[in-house]
């Protein structure tokens, strides 16, 4: 098994390039009711000196030595050997038939938000534990924002209790909802810019997801609702981009740790 696994891993790794264009991700989105996410205020980040060229952490050097972690073109922290990266994240598009009713659609939209809230909180806890307070605060703020989105869905649907997750396979590709940041995307030395890049990726995936649902929906009401949610996600994408513009991009050496865990390397 192990030999086979190694073989498959190598084969797949060979296909991957270091450059992960998360920025090139297509959009996707969520809930209806184009209301302003209000709380999305960027948070007084130093409007500060943005280095013109440093915006995109740019192509990594050939990796002279075993890198502990590296980041993508969007400044996202990545780790591992260059060959072990995938060119792009899995597409967050609808994979199953579009929900046939508004409650079904909104059920998915709600759980998509709730899962994102839970994950942001977990990541905030992890960052706090590793003394990365800035990023912990940012993840907590993201959790609060997503939580408000979930509240809004609950109110729109007049649900007093969170309904159980919709039965059957979720209509998105991949194991987790489009707005859920994968655990392995974070790094203990990541900076707020990286966290926002992850948030942006989530919003863009959600946008693509709702756009796909809109296209796939055959019930006119569901189609309209999906379109509204896509619009809202578009707004969120713009807001996060705006927020990112106010945050200084990371320096090249952001992941240099004077006391690294891998002292054996």
């Amino acid at each position: 098994m192990t030999a086979a696994r190694r073989k498959v891993a190598r084969k797949s790794a060979a296909k991957k390039s270091v450059a992960r264009k998360s920025a090139a991700k297509k959009p996707a989105a969520r809930k209806p009711a184009a209301r302003k996410p209000a709380a999305r205020k960027p948070a007084a980040r130093k409007p500060a000196a943005r280095k013109p060229a440093a915006k995109k952490p740019a192509a990594k050097k050939p990796a002279a030595r075993k890198p502990v972690a590296r980041r993508s073109a969007a400044g996202k922290p990545l780790a591992g050997k260059p060959s072990a990266r995938k060119p792009a994240a899995r597409p967050a598009r609808a994979r199953a038939a579009a929900p046939a009713s508004i409650p079904a659609l909104m059920g998915y939209a709600l759980w998509l938000e709730l899962d994102a809230v839970e994950r942001y909180r977990e990541l905030a806890d992890a960052m706090e534990m590793h003394n990365n307070r800035d990023v912990a605060d940012l993840f907590r703020r993201m959790a609060a924002i997503e939580s408000k989105h979930a509240d809004r869905i609950m109110k729109q649907m007049d649900w007093s209790k969170v309904p159980p997750p919709p039965a059957g396979p979720a209509p998105w590709a991949g194991a987790e909802g489009p707005e859920t940041v994968a655990h392995e995307e974070v790094h203990y030395l990541m900076q707020p810019y990286h966290a926002l890049a992850l948030a942006l990726k989530g919003e863009e995936q959600a946008l693509r997801f709702f756009e796909a649902l809109e296209r796939a929906a055959s019930v006119p009401a569901v189609k309209r609702a999906a379109a509204e949610m896509a619009d809202e996600e578009r707004e969120h994408v713009a807001l996060v981009k705006n927020w990112m513009a106010r945050v200084p991009p990371p320096d090249d050496g952001w992941r240099d740790d004077p006391d690294p865990p891998r002292y054996t390397d």
Partner: protein, 285 residues
């Protein structure tokens, strides 16, 4: 959803049994990016799905990064000595058969230091669930090769690789008599929760191997999420057939691979619980 200050009442999930019910206030200290975070989440989701109660559930572990899990739950917990989690858990289950017992650990703890306990736990088929977070490395002690490490994995601590054939836990479990065998992936917490719930429900000894990347010492394992895929087979109750399948698959087949019908180890249901004083009396001079 974890009930923190940022949440509003309306988005909190129903009070009955939620994953948050099973999460303690102690925050994990794993490296950010570690797969074990997701496994913790899957375990709490599974407990909630099964409508268990923390006071009726026990999480037992040995030593290692993943073995910290009992402290992160609100269940009864026992963080035991290295490799002995299954032995302790067997004792718990025999003494208190009404409790749900889940054992958690890593590949080093379970397959090396505790390897012999693993064999005999499968053989005894006591009704409990063993979840192994396998990252093919000893993470807590800074990256030594473990029993499931690939023979050619090159590192400073094993230059050129160990050259030693890797342990195949699923086949060993099947050959030793485990009654339920599954493989899961930490990157799919909901799918993993579902598999753990099935494992807990299944009578006898259930074994769930979870591929859980170590982003610090095995950053190459980030590619696992692109390699895993659902097992394209139906669950079998024939251990030989299951063993053939897992020996020939690519190691990234996810799902329930075997659900057997062996009778679990008989658990004596005592009319009266044993008092501590009774136990002490046995050791009295």
């Amino acid at each position: 959803m974890t009930p923190t200050a940022t949440a509003t009442a309306v988005t909190e999930r129903p009070a009955a049994s939620t994953p948050a019910t099973f999460k303690s206030a102690t925050k994990p200290i794993w490296c950010p990016g570690c797969g074990d975070y997701s496994v913790l989440s899957s375990i709490t989701k599974a407990f909630a799905m099964l409508a268990l109660k923390p006071e009726e559930t026990v999480v037992v572990s040995g030593i290692g990064c993943s073995s910290r899990i009992p402290a992160y739950t609100t269940c009864y917990g026992f963080h035991g000595v290295h490799g002995r989690a299954l032995a302790a858990a067997t004792g718990v289950k025999l003494a208190r058969p009404e409790l749900t017992v889940l054992v958690a650990g890593g590949d080093g703890d379970g397959y090396s230091i505790g390897g012999n306990h693993f064999l005999h736990a499968c053989r005894r088929n006591v009704d409990m669930t063993y979840v192994v977070m396998d990252n093919h490395v000893y993470g807590m002690t800074k990256g030594q090769p473990s029993p499931t490490t690939e023979p050619d994995w090159d590192s400073k601590l094993a230059p050129g690789g160990t050259g030693v054939r890797a342990f195949h836990p699923l086949v060993i479990a099947l050959a030793s008599g485990a009654n339920f065998v599954a493989r899961a992936f930490s990157g799919d917490p909901n799918g993993t929760a579902d598999i753990i719930a099935q494992a807990v429900r299944h009578p006898g000894f259930s074994f769930v191997e979870i591929l859980s990347p170590c982003v610090t010492f095995r950053p190459d394992q980030r590619s696992w999420k692109d390699l895993v895929h659902p097992a394209s087979v139906t669950v079998t109750d024939d251990p030989a057939r299951a063993a053939r399948r897992v020996m020939t698959d690519d190691g990234f087949n996810i799902g329930v691979l075997y659900a057997g019908g062996r009778t679990p180890y008989p658990l004596a249901r005592r009319a009266h619980p044993v008092a501590v004083a009774d136990l002490e009396a046995e050791f009295a001079p």
